[in-house]
């Protein structure tokens, strides 16, 4: 059942590469879309089979692999990973749908997309630390290629930066996993929490620290974030969608599953500092976003800010906050994908993303009115306006974290207010005013010709907008899906603290 979610993309990618004969871009794209549709359908089937009332791992599969190394092929899904699997399936499909202008080596391009999607599925589903690490690394190389081959002008720099950062991230994570096995002496690499009886708090904290930095790079958290704006600006639109919507979630997923899941006690000790880190990350990302002039960089910095909420929620580790973290991962996935799609549309039409150059794109006949309208919805969702996914996510995060970390939570709420500032500046500059793509001057150009954007190109953005609104208006579904899992997670620290509090 779960293995099919790996088989479809991986075998599909292999098939695309090995298919004999010439394949045009359109044919490759259609094939990839068909495979991704199948993957989405399969993921939805998973949703039907899944029992939300159970908090543990479900639909487990396991095959012993290299037992001496502790590497076991072991998959399972719970309320934490299932929504992310769905987001992955949906956004890869969106990404492939938006890849209409791949001129060079389309086969390789779509095969890489598929590999990424499969690897991400694997990472979300694997119940073995080493297996997770394998998939975590597997997604890296295709993405690096996607940026460095199909990217923008400074792609070499951005791709290298991305590679170095994520390599360090991978190294730290592997080191932590190996270290854990080494010091506990248990080399089964399973997802069992470590108790203080097994391991001293100092060692726990060091291992947790390594994991935190490792995943902190991926999320990314300040100060490990600088690869993200560069990667986004140089990546093409579909890759940005994938990067922001899906790949960053590997970091936050790791944060919840491994940092919190493996080291609940150390987590409880570190939590106050993590909350401060989260607040700094939120404020830093938001403030840096205000100063950006490139629309894509602005959205990228907003990601830095918004992923900080997840760390805050994880630090608080209450049932409500963890559910909020899950919501935030899903809604950030959808919203940032939407924003990158729309920014990409503006760039494709006008040839620029510069806030100082673009004006008045809401013009109904010659501008991009639909892009503009969707953009307004998207930025409002990102700014946490009620009725859209961002609000309920932020509300749950703040509501769950306030009692534990009031100052950090309030600071993060200020960051949420700042989101409105920069995104409003973006919408006001780019979409309001008289249509122009050069700085306005008296007697300036009178006639602007931008190609029209056909309605079909807006299809993914419209679907994402509908999803964002649907989750915002009826969040119970997602809540029901994840509540048991997140509640179960929130029990570790409390439970363990209670146990260890009593002298045995």
């Amino acid at each position: 059942m779960l293995s099919a979610l790996l088989a479809i993309p991986f075998l599909g990618a292999l098939g695309l590469m090995l298919w004999p004969g010439e394949l045009s871009l359109e044919k490759v794209r259609r094939a990839a879309l068909a495979l991704l549709l199948l993957q989405l359908a399969w993921s939805l089937r998973l949703l039907l089979l899944f029992d939300p009332s159970c908090g543990g791992m479900q639909l487990q599969e396991s095959i012993p692999w290299i037992e001496s190394l502790g590497l076991e092929y072991r998959l399972g899904v719970d309320g934490l990973s299932l929504p992310l699997v769905l987001v992955n399936a949906g956004l890869t499909l969106v990404s492939a749908y938006a890849s209409t202008t791949v001129t060079q080596r389309p086969r390789l391009y779509f095969a890489l997309l598929l590999v990424i999607s499969g690897a991400v599925n694997g990472a979300f589903l694997s119940l073995n630390l080493l297996l997770f690490f394998l998939f975590y690394e597997l997604e890296l190389i295709p993405l690096w290629l996607l940026i460095s081959v199909w990217g923008g002008a400074r792609r070499a720099y951005a791709a290298t930066k991305f590679l170095i950062f994520t390599a360090v991230s991978g190294g730290l994570i592997l080191a932590a996993f190996l270290g854990l096995a080494l010091v506990t002496g248990e080399a089964d690499f399973s997802l069992t929490p470590v108790l203080s009886g097994q391991l001293g708090m100092g060692t726990q904290l060091v291992l947790l620290g390594a994991l935190l930095v490792g995943f902190g790079i991926k999320i990314p958290l300040v100060p490990f974030h600088t690869w993200l704006p560069d990667a986004h600006t140089e990546a093409s639109t579909p890759v940005s969608v994938l990067l922001a919507g899906v790949l960053l979630k590997l970091g936050t997923y790791g944060l919840l599953r491994f940092c919190l899941g493996l080291f609940p006690e150390a987590w409880a000790v570190a939590a106050p500092w993590l909350a401060i880190w989260a607040a700094v990350s939120v404020l830093y990302g938001s403030l840096a976003a205000i100063a950006q002039r490139d629309m894509k960089r602005m959205v990228a910095y907003s990601s830095v800010g918004h992923m900080g909420y997840v760390l805050l929620a994880a630090a608080a580790a209450t049932p409500v906050s963890l559910l909020g973290a899950e919501f935030q991962m899903v809604s950030h996935g959808l919203i940032s994908a939407l924003l990158f799609l729309l920014v990409g549309e503006v760039y494709a039409t006008t040839g620029t993303r510069d806030l100082d150059v673009l004006r008045g794109l809401l013009n109904p006949e010659r501008g991009l009115p639909l892009t503009g309208s969707l953009m307004i919805v998207g930025v409002m969702a990102s700014a946490g306006l009620p009725g859209m996914a961002g609000f309920i996510s932020e509300f749950l995060v703040f509501r769950g974290s306030l009692a534990a970390f009031p100052v950090a939570t309030l600071a993060s709420m200020v960051g949420s207010g700042l989101t409105a500032v920069y995104f409003l500046l973006l919408v006001n500059r780019v979409f309001f005013g008289r249509l122009a793509v050069t700085p306005p001057e008296p007697g300036g150009p009178l006639d602007i010709r931008l190609p029209a954007v056909p309605l079909v190109r807006h299809l993914p953005a419209m679907v994402l907008t509908l999803l964002v609104v649907a989750i915002g208006l009826a969040p119970s579904g997602l809540g029901y899906l994840s509540e048991q899992a997140t509640t179960a997670m929130s029990q570790f620290p409390a439970l363990l603290a209670a146990i260890s509090g009593k002298p045995a």
């Binding site: 690096w144 930066k161 590679l163 170095i164 390599a167 360090v168 991978g170 190294g171 730290l172 592997l174 080191a175 190996l178 270290g179 080494l182 100092g202 060692t203 060091v206 390594a210 100060p223 974030h225 600088t226 830093y284 403030l287 840096a288 976003a289 205000i290 100063a291 209450t318 409500v320 559910l323 008045g360 809401l362 013009n363 109904p364 639909l370 309208s373 307004i376 306006l385 609000f391 509300f395 749950l396 509501r399 306030l402 009692a403 009031p406 939570t409 709420m413 200020v414 949420s416 207010g417 500032v421 409003l424 006001n428 979409f431 309001f432 005013g433 008289r434 119970s476 809540g479 509540e483």
Partner: protein, 619 residues
């Protein structure tokens, strides 16, 4: 706490009360085919008609429920919305007489405003978008007034912020609209974020979001004084932003760039919604004496300051938008001094009369293409509906003739005369200044000789005149309506002395404005102190400049600093480390293509370092 489902024995109109906000929201969807341009050959008017229809349905449904409440008493309906762990969020409706009266005010004025817009915006091609936004506006407002939960109130207030932004930004290509929409959104957003902090804190500490349960909790709240104060301040910040109170009043001035029919609603019912939320929060504010004091101070400054600034305006719309700030200041004072009944009456009387005033203003602008008071004049002889509306609105909104606000002022002065004399003075002063303002505007616009721009000024079309005349009649009937809403202790329960004070203050205002010389060219006074004062008031105490020099500059500097730090420190550091590791990869000659090797290398280095540190720890 436990979600009550609609009781089966309730009349259907009450069980379906959740539909009322949805009528407005459905207008958005109904307008879509025209506002998105899918229907290209035909014009956008069907969207307007559909919105009028759903608003009418909302109004009628509201009246039905109002009648039922009259018969069976207040009811509470709740529909569970979201539940997780100890968090229960539900959509709750509090069907009380006052809430439904407020609902009728909202939907009724929305209906009249929409008919008026059909005339005012007759040459507007984006009509469908306008009506969609007004539908959204109305839906959010209907929900706010009926809401029985703080969470839902916040939810809808924030939607109101969004629709204000979109309505002010309706003429998005006009440069001043762009800044106005931005400022309106951000100012309200500041209030909203503070309110959200309050909502989250209340929800986290008490576990409740329903008002009634919060009241019970607040009565025995185990809060430190600091927490209580911060909570109280957070809670009043939202309504302060919505009601355009000092120092968050600037947006209302700028929002006057938006279409006039939206200004009608904004100056009457939107601010009323903000105040109604504050009314619902009133019992919670008892936690914090500081919040009450702040409320009083803000209200008093807004009341007198707003009235003074209004007098110095040369723009027709702005002269009255500041008066809205002023009146809501009075409402704030009434709420802070625990006079919810009078506050509500004042909201009703002010809402109706102010809406009428803005209709009159709208028809002046539509006829003369001009908002500049110095360029207007002599309209009184030609525009009966507009002149009548202005006079009736002026009488209704002030305490000179026994119409709406007269009784409210009487009650306020009576209530404050014992312990809070200074606030009674604030009420009288506001009355005086408002009448001064109205009289001077009347002289400039309606009396005197025709000016070039008013030389040809026929009365407006029936689509604008009809709602205006209807509302004129309604404002005339206001005392009777008020007496029915508030039969006990009666709207006339104040002494003749108080009545004389209210009328006297009004008379002073009228007479002084009637004799003061008005210069058409509005030349600034040659007498320097007076000129400084004139400018200070005309430019609204330079609030926008103060903002720009403080909070805007602060955030901008901080963001530049962060960005600079990001580029100069974090990024450079990373680049250094990066090039170092590249160089290392090069010198180790591990590679043909350095990057892959770098990756392996860094992974190895990290593992080694970690293991070393582990060893050190274990040892």
């Amino acid at each position: 706490m436990v979600a009550e489902l609609p009781l089966p024995n309730l009349p259907l109109s009450m069980q379906l009360v959740w539909l009322i906000p949805l009528y407005g929201f459905s207008g958005v969807l109904l307008s879509l085919p025209w506002s998105t341009g899918w229907i290209k050959r035909n014009g956008p008017r069907p969207a307007a008609y559909l919105n009028l229809l759903v608003t009418l349905v909302a109004f009628l449904h509201g009246s039905l429920v109002l009648r039922q409440v009259w018969l069976v008493g207040p009811q509470h309906l709740a529909i569970p919305w979201f539940h997780a762990a100890d968090l229960n969020l539900s959509i709750g409706f509090d069907l009380s007489l006052t809430n439904l009266a407020a609902l009728e005010l909202v939907t009724g004025l929305s209906l009249l405003g929409q008919v008026f817009a059909l005339g005012y915006l007759d040459k507007e091609w984006s009509l469908a978008r306008f009506y969609a936004l007004v539908g959204f506006f109305e839906g959010a407002m209907s929900g706010v007034v009926l809401s029985s939960s703080l969470f839902m109130s916040y939810f809808l207030l924030e939607m109101l912020t969004l629709s204000t932004y979109l309505l002010v930004g309706f003429w998005y290509a006009q440069p001043l609209v762009v800044t106005a929409a931005r400022d309106a959104f951000l100012t309200k957003r500041v209030g909203d974020v503070l309110l959200l902090m309050g909502v989250v804190a209340l929800s986290a500490w008490s576990g409740q979001t329903e008002f009634t349960e919060l009241y019970a909790w607040a009565a025995s709240a185990p809060l430190t004084p600091l927490a209580g104060t911060l909570l109280g301040l957070g809670l009043i910040a939202g309504p302060m932003g919505k009601c355009a109170q000092f120092p968050m009043h600037l947006w209302l001035d700028e929002a006057m760039e938006g279409p006039n029919p939206a200004s009608i609603l904004r100056n009457s019912v939107v601010v009323t919604c903000g105040a109604i939320v504050l009314l619902k929060l009133m019992p919670l504010l008892l936690i914090s004496p500081v919040a009450t004091d702040v409320l009083l101070a803000v209200g008093a400054i807004s009341a007198v300051g707003g009235a003074l600034v209004a007098i110095a305006q040369v723009d027709l719309k702005r002269a009255f938008s500041y008066s809205t700030t002023s009146y809501l200041g009075l409402v704030f004072i009434a709420i802070a001094l625990q006079q919810p009944g009078i506050a509500l009456l004042l909201l009703f009387a002010h809402g109706l009369a102010k809406a009428l005033l803005f209709m009159s203003v709208g028809s002046i602008i539509a006829t003369t293409n001009c908002q500049d008071l110095t360029e207007l004049g002599g309209l009184g002889r030609r525009m009966p509906a507009t002149t009548g509306a202005f006079l009736m609105a002026a009488a209704g909104v002030t305490g000179l003739l026994p119409l709406g606000c007269f009784w409210c002022f009487g009650l306020l002065v009576q209530a404050f005369s014992a312990e809070h004399r200074s606030f009674a003075v604030v009420v009288l002063l506001t009355n005086l200044l408002t009448l001064f303002n109205l009289t001077r505007v009347y002289r400039q616009v309606f009396l005197g000789d025709a000016q070039p721009k008013t030389r040809r000024a026929p009365e407006v079309s029936w689509l604008m005149a009809l709602p205006m005349v209807s509302l004129t009649v309604l404002v005339g009937l206001m005392p009777w309506i008020m007496a029915r809403i508030d039969p006990v202790p009666g709207i006339a329960s104040f002494s003749p002395g108080v009545a004389a004070l209210v009328m006297g203050s009004g008379l002073i205002g009228v007479v002084s404005a009637a004799v003061v010389p008005l210069n058409k060219a509005w030349s600034r006074s040659l007498f320097k102190p007076l000129r400084t004062l004139q400018d200070l008031l005309a430019f609204d105490f330079y609030t926008d400049r103060i903002y720009r020099a403080t909070i805007v500059a602060f955030v901008a500097a901080l963001s530049r600093l962060t960005n600079g730090f990001d580029a100069a420190v974090v990024n450079v550091l990373v680049d250094r480390v990066g090039s170092l590791s590249m160089a290392a990869a090069g010198t180790l000659r591990l590679s043909v293509s350095g990057r892959m090797q770098t990756y392996v290398l860094t992974a190895l280095v990290a593992i080694v370092l970690l293991l070393a540190s582990l060893n050190w720890f274990i040892a």
